[in-house]
Symmetry: C2
DNA sequence: ATGAAAGCGCTAACAC
DNA sequence: GTGTTAGCGCTTTCAT
């Protein structure tokens, strides 16, 4: 079956459009003008009916029928561009992420997308690739499309480009990371407590030399997790040893480098706390390659629960976050603020984490 | 610091806007009108300059300067809605996926997003949640936003809602899955060959009883992988045994059910071929729970290479796909077709897969 | 070298 | 009950 076999659809289309919309099947989606023409009404009348204002405007049942039928027959497709331009509202939410490929952010993206559509919004997705420069660019591009709201997982330390949103008509909600110097609402995990719980657990299992494999310096999740780590040590009267803290990145490669540095440093440690799923994997991989048994020689506990956490070389104890809930909440918060320019900034939300214990942590003699 | 401490920005804005744009800092982004006013030119002139048509229209250097400065000072933000409406082009690509949470689709989403932005397009993301009904709805909603092109990873068997795109001004490219009855270009993995290679490998390792844990019935990736599986058996003179084929879904839960069914059936098998990453994980989990040693008792090979593949309970042999390349190609293909309504449908592209061998497959005596 | 006018598809204010 | 008019912010003839 070749393309030409399509029974002349293409050829007939032009005629349909220009002269009369009388063809049997709804070939090409029509706009309000075509619908009005076919229904024999004016354009505003058709508009009112199709927006459910028929009764309010006391348009006769008959006319309403006519319009609705015409719309169906022409498979009416409202031009949301025109509507948005007129209404000053696009029913669109901009989403800026460091990397949709990362399962944690992917889960956020999914929740945002689903929740947004449930509320009648579409989502414009931007991947900043963990690059602040790109983030700035993307934010600009996306603002030119006049979204009704923004959900942003910012990257890096720079946040001057977000200042304008402190007093903007476009509500913005930060997710996963936040900035102390910015009065913007955020949805974050309870990173400090999550880390605190994790390291408490390690210490209670008898580990007093706990290494920490960090994520990207300067980001709130990283700093707060490190803080939780330090607090746990302190609470148990263990001195902080900076030689036990390595790494500068949440990715797998950064994780490998960090783990290698730790190993090469020769410092003694019996447990490792990895600050992301990918760092955890990298650590496990490298430890095993180096001939260390987990958890007999060294225990391992990682941030981020994943579908595969239970079936790793050694089933991993993790700190579970709830990215889906975070995405959902972010959209809810943005939507609540849309159309209320003067409203007070909502309070930031901290989503609790949960410790999942498996076999990667051993009780130390 | 409360919200009111913002030095009266909000109050001063109205005045700025109505009277003169003379305030020092560029508080509020301005449109073409404001720029023209500040530059002392007409709106069309400002438009031409800012679209790089200044020289073409022989607008004086001085005026051009004036306009550009005004644009900078007001931090000009072109209203893309108005522009799109006028131009009949939104520079937007619609992306419809079954589940951004799945790392395979997430990788596609990432590639699409990055490639699209590199070409000056924005991406509208829709998550169909593996539900055909939602897919239909989303496609409608998204079309109302008049995207210049569409990238779709369709779900399920139904494809009548995609027929209109065989002869639509909006180019559509299918990714991962395709439909024999549809004349639409697609980008897919070489599923048949990938499966063929995998099962050939298993057989060459001495396995003649190879079970197959299927994905969603009726989808091309699933059917082609099963076909590759059967071809491999046939090529080696092994009879197909349908009791060895279980499952109906690509997710982890479906995978667990399939693996359990296989185990419970009591059929003898020494190797399992899992048709997705999540099925692979589920199978590994269940096999281990059931006390089977992998690969000593049963070998395992799964579709989809992942960052954790090497560090699973037993390092997994996999069939690697290239979702990033698929997403990139899809965008390239869509963009090439934008604005060429009459152009011939491009040929579909099949992206090769690669077999990655690890320890989950044992050479059978 | 630049401006005036029309129009993209829609909705809201105001007629009658 | 329904139509007319104006305008959202832009680009594009066409005129000067």
């Amino acid at each position: 079956m070749t393309r030409e076999s399509g029974d002349g659809r293409k050829r007939s289309r032009q005629a349909d459009q220009a002269v009369s919309p009388n063809s049997g099947s709804p070939r090409k989606a029509g706009g309000l003008k075509e619908v009005a023409a076919r229904a024999g009404t004016s354009i505003p009348t058709a508009s009112r009916v199709l927006n459910g204002l028929g009764d309010e405007y006391r348009i006769s049942r008959r006319t309403q029928e006519l319009v609705r039928n015409a719309a169906k027959e022409l498979s009416f497709s409202p031009n949301l561009l025109a509507k948005s331009l007129r209404l000053g509202s696009t029913r669109t939410i901009g989403l800026v992420l460091p990397d949709v490929g990362n399962p944690f952010f992917a889960a956020i993206a999914r929740a945002v997308s689903i929740e947004a559509h449930a509320r009648g919004y579409s989502v414009v997705l931007c991947d900043s690739g963990d690059d602040t420069g790109r983030e700035v660019e993307l934010l600009e591009v996306i603002m030119n499309r006049r979204p009704d709201g923004l959900v942003v997982v910012p990257v890096g330390q720079k946040c001057s480009h977000l200042q304008r949103f402190e007093s903007s008509d476009t509500p913005l909600v930060l997710v996963d990371r936040s900035f102390a110097e910015l009065r913007l609402p955020s949805i974050t995990s309870d990173n400090r407590q999550g880390a605190r719980d994790a390291v408490d657990h390690l210490i209670e299992c008898g580990h007093s030399n706990v290494a920490c494999l960090r994520g990207l310096a300067g980001t709130t999740p990283n700093e707060l997790r490190v803080q939780g780590y330090r607090e746990a040590l302190e609470a148990h009267g263990i001195a902080f040893d900076e030689r036990l803290v390595c790494g500068d990145g949440f990715g797998k490669e950064a994780g490998r480098r960090a783990a290698r540095a730790l190993l090469d440093s020769g410092v003694r440690f019996t447990a490792v706390f990895a600050l992301s799923n990918l760092i955890g994997i990298a650590a496990l991989e490298l430890l095993l390659e180096a001939g260390r048994r987990v958890p007999e020689d060294v225990s391992l506990l990682s941030f981020d629960e994943q579908p595969y956490s239970s079936v790793l070389a050694v089933p991993m104890s993790t700190v579970r976050q709830d990215p889906a809930e975070m995405g959902r909440l972010a959209v809810a918060m943005v939507c609540d603020r849309i159309g209320k320019p003067g409203a007070a900034m909502p309070a930031s939300v901290v989503v609790p984490t949960a410790l999942v214990t498996r076999r990667s942590v051993a009780v130390h003699p």
